[in-house]
Symmetry: C3
Subunit: 139 residues, 3 copies
């Protein structure tokens, strides 16, 4: 059994979904693992991870808008307001989506559906650099 670790860094400039599928595949393809598990963790609590449709960009906009409606950026709704009107909604949206993704690697191929892409979901308004820990375990 072998294990490999990697960090993918993504610069974000505002709320929305950032496709990092290619960055993950590019790293995974270079590792000497044929079958195994890939664990991806986001090391932040105001951005999150989701697997979503990679065909129509409108889907990504609708997702962003839906979560903004369900957890509005309105300081009157929250106690935690010192980090800006977008911070508490960011924590809520993170808790409703994912901090980690686990994917299976079979015969050097990551098992994803035809229309599935890996997305970082940024919930903050300003620029951030987000770190996604990648961990591959297998043989």
């Amino acid at each position: 059994m072998q294990q490999f670790f990697h960090e993918v860094k993504i610069k974000t400039n505002g709320q929305g979904l950032y496709d990092f599928t290619d960055k993950t595949l590019s790293w995974v393809n270079k590792q000497k693992i044929k079958n195994g598990l890939l664990n991806i963790n986001i090391l932040h609590t105001s951005a999150s991870l989701i697997i979503q449709e990679n065909a129509d960009p409108d889907v990504l906009d609708d997702l962003k808008n839906f979560f903004n409606k369900i957890a509005p950026m309105n300081n009157n709704l929250y106690k935690h307001t010192t980090e800006g009107k977008d911070d508490m909604p960011a924590h809520i949206k993170s808790s409703m989506t994912n901090n980690h993704l686990v994917l299976s690697l079979k015969n050097k191929k990551l098992l994803l559906g035809t229309w599935q892409g890996l997305y970082l979901f940024e919930h903050r308004l300003k620029e951030h650099t987000r770190i996604l820990s990648h961990h591959l375990i297998g043989n």
Copy 2:
């Protein structure tokens, strides 16, 4: 360390929760793994996975109704409408639940609580065949 892969196919005929616990257990029990991890991925973005109570069927109905209320099938709310009024809500519901489940196998027993069942959560109105990738890693 050994690894085994399998696909569970589930035919759905409309929105709701489909229990696949027995299909998973039946496959896992036949593999030569005593302790390990089971990773289940759904290879679609308009249906999802959840672990929920398997006792009262009303719970499953209430879950379906709750998610229909929170992400209504109303084209006026979304930009992505070309695939039907149920498609964008399906993506939203998928992003709020799970694309994957990870379970632990200990002494040939999948660690689930007494009242926990594995469910496919179908968010589309028409018939679909959904593929659930199963990957067991352990020894």
Copy 3:
């Protein structure tokens, strides 16, 4: 490859987030694994797991209040009412957050962000003892 199993038990007395990071770290640090995966499963369907900010306790209150607003404890909204007004909302909140968490262990260190803590999210009003299965696999 080696595997170790453990149960963390947490007594809860009402709705809210209970930090169990130290209990997990304390067990993980004693195991003879340098690199590997940690899988944590909650064996219940009316409480769940989340990774959240561990700095400002107001964040935890806001999360609790948000989920109570989105899934109100009002029997008129649900069919499943026999286990109390807090039970069906508890199932809903569980399905919107996590039944499991997967974390990576690298050089004996659990990969968590600076501000990330591990929380049990109790959704029931009365006292409960919750069991969190811990499973470490690696070498």
